[in-house]
């Protein structure tokens, strides 16, 4: 009897064990289907609208906010496939194709072939992961490029994916859309199924331009949010002017509801940017979290977009900020060591207890573009003079230069809204 039991157990381990593992690691079948006059995505036979974010962390809140997918820019963070799976989310998995602007030479046969063969191994490694939704081949290779051979690389990888992976569509991701890119991808990349477009200010006309520029396959908005620093107005001393958190959150909500969701014919969904934090001109421009992980009012806006309702606790939302009574859109020039008054508008602050924090940084001038890494500017001690209600007075540095003051308004749930004003000390 004891011997028989052992045999049965062995059977379970030897036969069922691999079968169970297989079930866990089986890829989801994703395909593009015709839908009305356009397209839709289906995952394991079910309609699948992408409610996504560019995210590497904060997954429980992402899930609770109604998202169903994350975008990864490369397989370098492929461990996040498991994290996504844990929260029942899918992944648009990026294959990092080196852009020309980083020094890649698409006339160099060795560099090109090395990259392609390397990326093929990545495809084979991850194609069966159950969280994979689509392949994102390259990101913004078209930014300041002049060698169109990059599209041959994209096509070869896309064709390879179709050869070895029958479960996942292919996508390539570009920085904004124009007729030249449309032509190049249509002409040179027939194996690309979906166009991914990173669109900030240009999202306003994206849906129309998709049609005007003759893109007749589906697309998704692979990065979107508020207008980027590269589109922002500048002060006389070339500091980018960033809208307050509340204004940015409103802009996100409007763009999602009126632009992305309005195009259900060709648009398969979107990934908002950025469910996390990064330095891009400022530490708060695109990030929906602060550097220390506190969610901002942008998170609430996405919750509303994805679920149709606001979260139980709303973050404060700063709608306006002023220095010496002059709003954030204007230039602010002050004298060294001068005391200045900062005040702000925040209707959502009226209904809750809000803690205010001011921080001062040197201006982070940069000429970096795209996703290039930027360094955080130096923090400067701030000398408070007085605070009363929503008005604070502080002394600006005694050293001449360009600075930026940040206001953080935080509620007891550690939700925060951030606004800043650049100023010049003469």
């Amino acid at each position: 009897m004891e011997g028989r039991m052992r045999i049965v157990l062995c059977f379970v381990v030897v036969v069922l064990g691999p079968a169970l593992m297989l079930a866990q690691s089986e890829p989801a079948h994703v395909e593009i289907v015709a839908s009305g006059d356009g397209f839709a995505l289906e995952r394991n036979g079910e309609p699948y609208r992408i409610l996504g974010a560019g995210a590497k962390a904060h997954f429980p809140l992402l899930k609770a906010s109604g998202a169903n997918s994350i975008r990864l820019w490369s397989t370098g963070k492929a461990a996040l496939l498991d994290s996504a799976l844990k929260y029942d989310m899918t992944v648009s998995l990026g294959l990092y194709v080196r852009p020309e602007r980083t020094g890649m030479d698409y006339d160099d046969e060795y560099a090109v072939r090395s990259q392609i063969e390397q990326l093929k191994t990545e495809v084979l490694k991850y194609k069966d992961h159950p969280a994979v939704l689509v392949w994102g081949i390259g990101n913004e290779m078209d930014l300041r490029y002049t060698n169109f051979k990059v599209w041959q690389t994209i096509e070869e990888i896309a064709a390879f994916i179709h050869e070895v992976d029958p479960h996942h569509p292919t996508m390539t991701v570009i920085a904004g859309f124009d007729p030249a890119k449309s032509y190049m991808i249509r002409t040179h990349c027939p194996s690309v199924d979906i166009l991914g477009v990173n669109a900030y200010g240009s999202i306003e006309n994206l849906s129309r331009n998709i049609r005007r520029f003759n893109w007749d396959k589906p697309y998704m908005v692979t990065e979107w949010g508020v207008n980027g620093p590269f589109e922002a107005p500048m002060t006389a001393w070339k500091a980018k002017v960033e809208p307050p958190g509340g204004v940015k959150a409103e802009q996100r909500k409007r763009r999602y509801l009126e632009l992305i969701e309005a195009d259900r014919e060709q648009c398969l969904g979107s990934y908002c940017f950025l469910w996390g934090q990064k330095q891009e001109s400022t530490a708060t421009w695109h990030g929906m979290f602060t550097y220390d992980g506190r969610p901002t009012d942008a998170v609430d806006a996405m919750h509303f977009c994805w679920t149709g309702s606001w979260p139980e606790h709303r973050a404060p939302s700063v709608m306006d900020i002023r220095l010496n009574g002059i709003g954030w859109r204007k230039d602010h020039v002050v004298k060294a060591g001068e005391s200045v008054a900062l005040d702000f508008d925040c209707p959502l602050c009226e209904k809750q207890e809000v803690e205010l924090e001011l921080r001062l940084f040197t201006e982070g001038f940069t000429n970096k573009i795209g996703g290039d890494i930027q360094e955080r500017p130096e923090e400067v001690d701030i000398e408070f003079k007085s605070a009363e209600g929503k008005a604070m007075t502080f002394a600006v540095p005694s050293r001449a230069g360009a600075y930026r003051v940040f206001l953080f308004a935080q509620n007891p749930h550690h939700q925060v809204s951030v606004a800043n004003i650049p100023f010049l000390v003469e």
């Binding site: 370098g76 030479d105 006339d107 160099d108 046969e109 060795y110 560099a111 072939r113 090395s114 063969e117 390397q118 191994t121 300041r144 002049t146 060698n147 169109f148 051979k149 007729p179 030249a180 449309s182 032509y183 190049m184 249509r186 002409t187 129309r208 049609r211 005007r212 520029f213 003759n214």
Partner: protein, 395 residues
């Protein structure tokens, strides 16, 4: 007599050719000087005593050690562990490579490679975030990394794996590195890794890759050239999106494969509608030799000249868009309801700041309600007064 002479001449030539071949056979052919035999800097790292390395330290972000156990050959090998996330911008090490003597790699450049033996303690890697740089004594350096193409067995496992880095992969010419006076080899590390490295040396290597010619630029050698041939080059003409523009067959006597029929009824806030085309298959079009003596011209059927703005775009440069609103001087009535349209490049404000080696697009904005047929777009020679496009009788 003529035929006989020709025959004799042919025979003489055959004899001559045969004699040339014979000479080649009987002459003693001197072999090329063996550059490898003369190259005294082949060993870069064999063990830490004979071929010292610098940067072998155990500090935050890296543990770079020489270890004896499990070496491929020699007394020891390098065990390199690093993790950039521990707060380091730069992690690197390098080799003294014959006590920093200036090394001339020019003789072995085309058929040489750096070879190294690599293994890992577990797993199988097809890429390692290690970057190899050759620095010259002028402070210039060129960088490359290991390629899957030159990893024996297609990746690095727990057995020693031979990896080669062709010298040509460094592309020293891009940074002006002086290959005749190389100082050192460095390795820079990114992200995270853990590898064993041994026996780094220069070896003969056949590199089967070259550089392809650029195909992104269409260079215009002479004018005229047709602009925007083929409907796939156009945008803004999609009946499903707008009824303002559609393609038609070109009217009799017009060249090109299509003409544009415009029926523009502007509504709402938008004060214009537009269409455009790539100058030539959306390539970079190099008209640098011609732009100052050329004009965009086309033909138009319309009761009266429509209000149009024309813009030209370049792929690069500080000025990427120039534009001009066409006026009566740009139109020339050539028959009932038929117009020739000519826009000299020099008449467009800002033309002198465009990069004419990278012309991208021609775009038209229709600024008021209009009905017309347009076609036969070309860039043609124009040497007249830019302000009087139809006074010039040349071309």
């Amino acid at each position: 007599m003529m035929r006989l002479s020709a025959l004799l001449l042919s025979l003489m030539l055959m004899v001559s050719c045969g004699q040339l071949q014979d000479v080649a056979l009987y002459d003693v052919v001197q072999p090329e000087a063996d550059v490898w035999a003369a190259f005294e800097y082949a060993d870069i790292f064999t063990d830490s005593e004979r071929t010292p390395a610098f940067g072998l330290k155990e500090v935050p972000c890296r543990s770079f050690r020489a270890v004896k156990e499990g070496s491929h050959s020699g007394e020891d090998h390098l065990h390199l562990k690093w993790d950039q996330s521990e707060g380091c911008n730069y992690i690197g090490m390098g080799f003294l490579w014959k006590d920093y003597k200036g090394k001339d790699l020019t003789g072995i450049y085309s058929e040489g490679a750096i070879e190294l033996m690599v293994r890992v303690d577990s797993g199988f890697l097809t890429k390692v975030p290690m970057f190899f740089s050759l620095a010259d004594y002028g402070g210039k350096r060129c960088v490359t990394k290991m390629s899957l193409l030159d990893m024996e067995g297609g990746g690095i496992g727990t057995e020693w794996t031979r990896v080669r880095i062709p010298l040509q992969a460094f592309r020293p010419e891009r940074n002006g590195v002086n290959l005749a006076n190389i100082k050192e080899l460095r390795i820079e590390f990114q992200q995270k890794g853990d590898v064993h490295v041994d026996d780094i040396r220069m070896v003969p290597h056949q590199h089967h890759f070259g550089r392809e010619a650029s195909t992104s630029t269409h260079r215009v050698k002479e004018l005229p050239i047709a602009l925007g041939e083929g409907p796939e080059s156009w945008w803004g003409i999609n009946p499903a999106e707008s009824s303002h523009f559609r393609f038609s067959a070109p009217p009799d006597g017009w060249s090109g494969s299509e003409a544009i029929v415009a029926d523009v009824r502007l509504e709402g806030k938008k004060p214009w509608d537009s269409f455009g085309f790539g100058a030539h298959q959306w390539l970079l079009v190099d008209v640098n030799d011609h732009h100052s003596t050329s004009a965009v011209q086309f033909r138009l059927l319309s009761e009266s000249p429509p209000k149009i703005r024309m813009a030209l775009f370049a792929y690069r440069g500080s000025k990427r868009r120039i534009q001009i609103k066409l006026d009566e001087d740009n139109y020339h009535n050539v028959g009932p309801g038929e117009w020739a349209v000519r826009v000299p490049i020099k008449s467009i404000p800002g033309h002198e700041h465009m990069d004419w080696t990278a012309l991208k697009e021609v775009r038209f904005q229709v600024l008021e309600d209009a009905r017309f047929t347009a076609g036969d777009f070309e860039l043609a020679e124009f040497r007249g007064n830019p302000d009087k496009p139809f006074k010039w009788k040349g071309g």
